[in-house]
C-alpha cells in the first residue's frame, strides 16, 4: 500500500488511517481502554491472555501494547512479583527488537522506539513496591537521564508534539522521584527538587506544584513557608479563574485554617469547594476530618457516607474508607457490624484494584 509523503499537511485515506481510532492503533484497543477506565483489571488479564492464545496480535507493537496492559493490570492488582516476571520476559527495552526501523515493511519510513513509556516507568516502580527501594530509585534517576537525552535530541530538530510529550514525561519522572523521597521523609531533597522545577525554564510557576510545595512545608511544620507558597498560588488563580483553581485555593486556605485550629473556617472553605464542584473528593474527605475536630463525630460520618452514596466513582478511595472506619471504631462499641455492611457494599461497587484491607476487618 502506498503511503503519502511524510508531511504534517498530508492527507491520509481515512479508510486506512492508522490513527483514526484506538482500534486502528491496536486490535480491540478501545475495549482494553474501556475496561481500564472501569477498573476491570481482572477482565483485562483475561482479555490479554485470550488474545495471545488466539494469536490475534499480528504486528510487533501489538504485543508490546498488550504486554503493557498486562503489566499495568498486575500492578494495579498489587501482584508486583507477577508484573515483574512479565517485564523481565522482555529482553532489552532499548534493543532492536522494539524499534520501528527493524520492521520496515510494517512501519515504512518510521524509526524510533515502540516501547510504551509507561512500561519504563512501571519498571522503576515495581522494585519500590517490592521493598527494594534503592533499586527502584536508581532506576528512576536513570530513566530521568534517558528522558533528558531524548529531550536534547529533539530540541534542535524535532516536532513540537514529540518535544511536548518528552517534557511531560520528564515532569512525570521528577514528580515520581519527589514522591518517593517524600514517602521516606527526606524533606530536604524534596524541597531542592521542587525548587529546581519551579525555577526551570519549561515550567514557570505552576499552581499545583506550588501547592504541593506548600503541603510539604506544612508537613515539616514550616507554616510561614506554606503560607508564602499558597499566596503565590492565589496570584496565579486570580489571573486564570477556573473552578479547578478556585477549589485549589480554597483547599489550601482550609489547610491553613486547620493548622491554626480554626476548624469552623476550614469547614466553610471546603463547603464552598463542594458547592462549586460536588465531585471534589479531597474537600469532602477533609471536611469530614474537620468535623471530627469540632467534636461532631455523627456529622463527619454522615458526610463520608453520603459522598460514597452519591458520587462513589470519585470518592471511593482507600484513604476515605480508612477515615470512615476509624470513625466507626470510635462511634460504635460493636463496630464490626457496620464495617461489614460497608465492606459488602464496597465489594459490589469497587473496581478490581481497590485495596479492601483498608476496612481493617
Amino acid at each position: 500500500m502506498e503511503q503519502d509523503s511524510v508531511d504534517s499537511g498530508a492527507q491520509i485515506d481515512p479508510l486506512s488511517n492508522p490513527f483514526a481510532s484506538l482500534d486502528s492503533l491496536s486490535p480491540d484497543l478501545s475495549s482494553l481502554n474501556d475496561l481500564a477506565m472501569r477498573g476491570a483489571w481482572r477482565s483485562i488479564l483475561e482479555k490479554v491472555s485470550r488474545s495471545r492464545s488466539l494469536d490475534l496480535l499480528k504486528q510487533p507493537h501489538h504485543h508490546l501494547t498488550y504486554l503493557s496492559f498486562n503489566v499495568l493490570a498486575l500492578s494495579k492488582l498489587r501482584r508486583f512479583a507477577d508484573a515483574n516476571s512479565e517485564l523481565e520476559s522482555l529482553q532489552d527495552l532499548d534493543g532492536s527488537d522494539y524499534r520501528y526501523e527493524t520492521y520496515p515493511k510494517v512501519y515504512p519510513g518510521r524509526s524510533g522506539s515502540m516501547v510504551p513509556f509507561s512500561l519504563r516507568w512501571i519498571h522503576c516502580i515495581i522494585p519500590i513496591k517490592l521493598g527494594r527501594r534503592n533499586e527502584g530509585l536508581d532506576r528512576l534517576y536513570k530513566l530521568l537521564d534517558l528522558v533528558r537525552e531524548k529531550l536534547e535530541e529533539r530540541k534542535s530538530n524535532s516536532r513540537e508534539e514529540s518535544l511536548r510529550e518528552w517534557k511531560r514525561r520528564e515532569l512525570l519522572v521528577i514528580n515520581t522521584i519527589i514522591g518517593d523521597h517524600l514517602f521516606h521523609k527526606e524533606f530536604s531533597v524534596c524541597l531542592d527538587l521542587i525548587r529546581n522545577l519551579l525555577s526551570g525554564d519549561c515550567l514557570g510557576l505552576d499552581a499545583f506544584l506550588l501547592s504541593e510545595l506548600g503541603y510539604i512545608q506544612l508537613q515539616i511544620g514550616d507554616l510561614d513557608g506554606a503560607k508564602g507558597s499558597f499566596s503565590q498560588v492565589e496570584g496565579i488563580a486570580d489571573k486564570e479563574k477556573s473552578i479547578k483553581l478556585m477549589n485549589l485555593v480554597s483547599r489550601n486556605k482550609a489547610l491553613i485554617y486547620l493548622v491554626g485550629k480554626d476548624y469552623v473556617s476550614a469547614v466553610r472553605e471546603y463547603e464552598e469547594c463542594m458547592e462549586r464542584d460536588h465531585t471534589d473528593a479531597v474537600a469532602i474527605n477533609n471536611k469530614a476530618i474537620c468535623l471530627m475536630y469540632l467534636r461532631d463525630l455523627s456529622d463527619s460520618i454522615k458526610v463520608l457516607e453520603n459522598s460514597l452514596e452519591r458520587v462513589p466513582t470519585v470518592t471511593l478511595n482507600e484513604t476515605l474508607v480508612v477515615n470512615l472506619c476509624s470513625m466507626y471504631e470510635l462511634a460504635y462499641v460493636n463496630h464490626a457490624e457496620i464495617k461489614k455492611t460497608l465492606s459488602n457494599w464496597i465489594a459490589r461497587v469497587a473496581p478490581d484494584d481497590f485495596d479492601s484491607s483498608c476496612t481493617r476487618i
Binding site: S21, G39, R110, N175, L210, D224, Y332, V333
Partner: protein
Amino acid sequence: MSSSQASHSLAFRVMRLCRPTLHVDTPILVDPSDLLVGEDIYDDPVAASHLPRLMGGLKVKPSGDAADLSYRNRFLLNDSTDSMGLSGLLLLPQAFGAIYLGETFCSYVSINNSSNFEVRDIIIKAEIQTERQRILLLDTSKSAVESIRAGGRYDFIVEHDVKELGAHTLVCTALYDDGDGERKYLPQFFKFNVANPLSVRTKVRVVKDTTFLEVCIENHTKSNLYMDQVEFEPAQNCSATKLNADEYHSEETSTTRETFTPPVLIRSGGGIQNYLYQLKSSSRASDQIKVEGNVLGKLQLTWRTNLGEPGRLQTQQILGAAVVRKEIDLQVVELPTTIILGRSFSVHIELLNLTERELGPFEVSLSPDDLPGERAIMTNGLQKMVLPKVEAFGSRDFHLNLVATKLGVQKITGIRVYECNEGKTYNPLPDMEVFVDLE
C-alpha cells in the same frame, strides 16, 4: 452502687486527636500516550498530526451532571503533580503514636450507650493521673448530662499540656442511672507513656574577655522537628546575641527567594543542631561577666512537627564556668629593655581593684620556688612589699625590684598578691620572658 464487675450500658471509646496527616502514596496512573502508543511515535509527523486529538479525547471528563460511572481517576493522570502522590487528602491518626514532653495531649472521648435502654443523670469525669499529680480535665458534676438514649452517644474532647515524663493514665469515669434505675459507676483507664523529645547539651567557653555559650540539641523523637524558636533568655545582668554562621545560599532567583527560607529541621532519631550565643555583661564596669551564683540563663525551645503540631520546652538554669570574674589585676606598665646579669632592675606594675568594694592592704611577693635554685629571677631586697588599701575600681602603682641570676632567655614568674583583709591570694600576672645579658 454496683461495682465495675457488673455489665455496663455505657462504654468509653477514645481516639487520640493529634493533627491529621497528609497522605502520601505513589499512585499507579498513566497518560494515554504512554500506554496506547510507542514512546517515539510522535517523531512520525503523520502520527504527530493525528494522535493528539485522539489521545486528548480520551482524557475529557463527561461534562455537567452526567454521572461519571468510570473510575478514570484511578487510571489516568490529571496533572503531572498527581504522580507525586500528595493529593491533599487528610488521614486521621491511625495509632496512638509516641507522645513527648512539651506536646499537647488531645483526645476525642465518646461515651456510647450500647444497651437497649436509656440511661439518665450521667456525671462524667476525665482526669490525667501521673506519679505526681491528678489533673482534672472535665467534670459534669455541676450539670449532669440528662440522658443518653439507647444507641446514643455523648462526645467530648480533652486537651492537656504534657509537662511530666513517664507513665500517664487518662481516667474516664461515668456515674449514671441505668435502664433498671440502678446507679452504676464505670471507670475506664487509658495508659500512655511520655518520653523526652530532646536532649540539650551546653558548653560555656570564655575566650579572652567574652563568654560564649554553645548549645547542642539532639532530637530523640520519631519525627523531624522544625525548630520555630531557639531563644536563650539570659539572667538579669546579661545580654545574649545569637551568632549565625554566614550561610552560603546557592543562587536564588527572585521567585524562589519568596518561597524559600531553608528551614531548621532536626532529623528524627538522633539528628542534632548546634547554636552559639555571645553573652555580655550589662553592668558598666568591665566585659567580664559578674553573675550571682554563675547562673547564665535558660533556653526556650519551641518546635513544630506534622501540620504544625507544636511542642515547647524550657531548660533548667544554665550555669557558667566556675570562676569567671577577676577581682584584682596586675598590669605591667614598664619593663626595662636590657637586663644585666646580677644587676638589680625595676619593674613598674599597676594593681587594679576590679571589685566594687575596697580591698587591701596587699602583700606582693614572689611565690616560693618549687625547686630551689630553679628560679632565675628573684626579688632584690625585701621579700614582701606591702601596699595600702585600694578603693573600689581604683588602682595603685608600685615598683618591684628584681635581679637575674642566669643568662639568656629567662622568665619573670610567680608574682603573687595576697589580700590581707579577706585572706585571698591571686596570681594574676602571666609569665614574662626577658633576655639576660652580660655587661
